[in-house]
């Protein structure tokens, strides 16, 4: 297994509170990695550190074997993309304008729009089915459409690694599945490496090649969902007593909480 993006002995915190404790992690190339864990276990912090949004106080994030902090900001943005948990669309911006902002790391002051940019934006809008909405103001879209537009912006960036911070929050179940299917296709068809933070353990088990279970700033288990999702693990990570049965559709682990499990 090869990994372009790795974290080594990461120690990350806010103010006095340490969130990640000496965490080691390898993101397998070409796989769909999903990070799960209870609230405040450091999932987002790990993702943001891997994308260089946070600076570790100790340890380092390595990209192609080199400290990520030694790259220029635009160099990183051409290799690693991140869909943040929340972003603000400027007032009155249209879908196509927002998506085209994803091309910024590839552009220069005197080279603001090439045919490569054009194609990348078209492809990103087609992949997320927002082509028909191209001239719409983003403020007038539904939550599901808006999230697809933000995904399109991240796709237009055309990074071989794409990190997604809780991409399905605030969406209803149909839109969640639609988006996760899209991520699955992106991963399979273009060989893009994806890393997502998800809340739903069952969805994570269904879509992930590589599941990363975290608790209290440490990685508790990592591997294929079928191999690692057990009743003991769910109890260890979430403190929840549950039965694990195979998902009747996909055969992946399905977590059924016991009655009065707490």
């Amino acid at each position: 297994m090869h990994s372009r993006l790795t974290g080594w002995a990461l120690q990350v915190g806010y103010d006095q509170r340490t969130v990640l404790h000496q965490l080691d992690v390898d993101i397998p190339d070409g796989a769909f990695t999903v990070i799960v864990g209870p609230n405040a276990c450091g999932k987002s912090t790990l993702l943001r550190s891997l994308a260089r949004l946070l600076k570790p106080s100790e340890g380092a994030v390595l990209l192609d074997g080199r400290a990520i902090s030694s790259y220029s900001a635009k160099e990183v943005a051409r290799i690693v993309g991140l869909l943040p948990q929340s972003s603000t669309a400027p007032d009155g911006i249209t879908v196509v304008d927002l998506v085209s902002r994803g091309r910024f790391p590839h552009q220069k002051l005197l080279r603001q729009w090439s045919e490569v940019d054009e194609r990348a934006v078209r492809d990103a809008m087609a992949a997320t089915s927002v082509t028909d909405l191209a001239t719409w103001p983003v403020d007038e879209l539904s939550g599901g459409q808006r999230q697809r537009v933000w995904v399109a912006m991240a796709l237009a960036q055309q990074t071989p690694l794409l990190l997604l911070d809780e991409p399905t929050t605030f969406l209803d179940i149909a839109h969640q599945v639609e988006l996760l299917d899209l991520f699955g296709r992106l991963n399979r068809d273009s060989g893009r490496t994806l890393v997502a933070v998800l809340h739903d353990l069952n969805q994570a088990s269904r879509y992930a090649d590589n599941l990363l279970a975290m608790k209290d700033g440490r990685v508790v288990a990592q591997g294929a969902p079928r191999d690692i999702v057990t009743e003991d693990l769910v109890y260890e990570v979430f403190g929840l007593r549950a039965r694990i049965i195979p998902d009747p559709e996909s055969g992946t682990p399905l977590v059924i909480p016991l009655l009065g499990a707490h």
Binding site: R48, A51, R52, L53, S72, A73, K74, E75, V76, A77, R78, V80, G81, L82, L83, P84, Q85, S86, S87, T88, A89, P90, D91, G92, I93, T94, V96, D97, S100, R101, G102, F104, P105, Q107, L109, L110, R111, Q112, W113, S114, E115, D117, E118, V121, R122, A134, T135, A154, Q157
Partner: protein, 350 residues
């Protein structure tokens, strides 16, 4: 080549076989051209107006050298520097307003509201009253005062990052404090200095000549290229720090440089003509409405600022002629109405 559909209303200029390409917003370009035409027309009109009315033919003659020395002096040394100053100052103030409105993501986040202009005036006033000195000294004083006010506002508004609305409220408070300081500085000055400072404090181009205009032109020429480089990162920051950072923008660097540029633009104008309010506040929003752009855009804002301030200055000269009003009085009157309208529309939105 496929037709460019991206983004809507945008045209791409390709030069040197596609190695250079510039994105041009069509509606924005039309607005900039129309406003520039308006400014040039108004400038031509303004040269003819004054105590000694001239015809356009005489103006052309003054430049061609066919008119008398007296006419030449009135046009080239008397009226022209003031017109150039009004237009350039308007553009500079509007750019500063656009920077801070974009950074705070709020149409009220303008240097004249959040205390930076007042701070620049405090700095310039201190230099004039305590040290004495020419425009250059005053300009450095204004820059130091403006930056000190900006840093004070940021420090007071800081709680785990700076949030736009909090910054504005703190800025209004700091602005009020600095107003009091300015009043106190003028009160304890000698009479003639106090009178001069008070006239200057209203914001006026009445005494402006090339001696004041040339340094302002130099300052603007140095600052604008920085703005060109940081215009797109500034626009990306409107989406939030995380989104901008993941696109390769460095938020702290961008904000730091643009803070200095924005304050320096205001300081350059304040040192030359005193604090002129409301152009920075109103021009970016009016331009935005005309150009229908997403977020504030710099070039239309600059053109709108030039048009607003030049028109205000022509009014200031001619409204009660021969009495010359300070242009700051006009902008405050017009801007006050705008501010009330803005506050009402903001209150309705919430």
């Amino acid at each position: 080549m496929s037709a460019v559909i991206l983004p809507a209303g945008t045209r791409v200029l390709r030069l040197a076989g596609g190695r250079l390409s510039l994105r041009v917003d069509r509606r924005g370009t039309v607005v900039v051209l129309a406003l520039t035409g308006f400014v040039l027309g108004l400038a031509a009109l303004a040269v003819t107006l004054g105590e000694y009315p001239l015809t356009l033919g005489q103006i052309v003659g003054a430049f061609a050298g066919t008119e008398s020395d007296g006419v030449r002096r009135i046009v080239v040394d008397g009226r022209l520097p003031r017109i150039v100053m009004a237009a350039v100052a308007g553009a500079a103030l509007a750019l500063s307003g656009a920077i801070f409105q974009s950074m705070t993501r709020n149409p009220l986040g303008s240097p004249d509201i959040i205390g930076f202009t007042t701070g620049a005036y405090t700095g310039a006033l201190l230099v004039t009253l305590v040290v004495g000195g020419n425009y250059i000294a005053q300009a450095w004083g204004a820059l130091a005062g403006g930056l000190a006010a900006a840093i004070l506002v940021y420090v007071l508004a800081y709680t785990r990052g700076v949030q736009g609305f909090r910054l504005i409220v703190v800025g209004i408070a700091v602005s009020a404090m600095l107003h009091a300081v300015n009043g106190w500085l003028i009160l304890r000055a000698r009479l003639e200095e106090a009178l001069a400072a008070a006239t200057w404090g209203a914001g006026s181009f009445n005494e402006v000549g090339w001696r004041e205009t040339v340094p302002v032109l130099v300052a603007v020429a140095v600052l604008v290229p920085l703005l060109v480089v940081f215009a797109r990162p500034l626009a990306l920051l409107e989406m939030g720090d995380d989104a901008a950072r993941s696109l390769g923008v460095r938020p702290e660097v961008t904000r730091g440089i643009l803070l200095v540029v924005g304050v320096a633009l205001v300081a350059a104008i304040t040192a030359a003509a005193g604090p002129i309010s409301f152009v920075a506040l109103a021009a970016p929003q009016l331009a935005r409405r005309l150009a229908r752009s997403a977020g504030v855009s710099l070039l239309p804002s600059a053109a709108m600022g030039a048009a607003l301030l030049l028109a205000s200055d022509v009014l200031a000269q001619r409204l009660l002629a021969p009495t010359q009003l300070p242009v700051g009085v006009i902008t405050v009157c017009v801007g006050g109405v705008y501010l009330v309208a803005l506050l009402i529309s903001q209150a309705r939105r919430q």
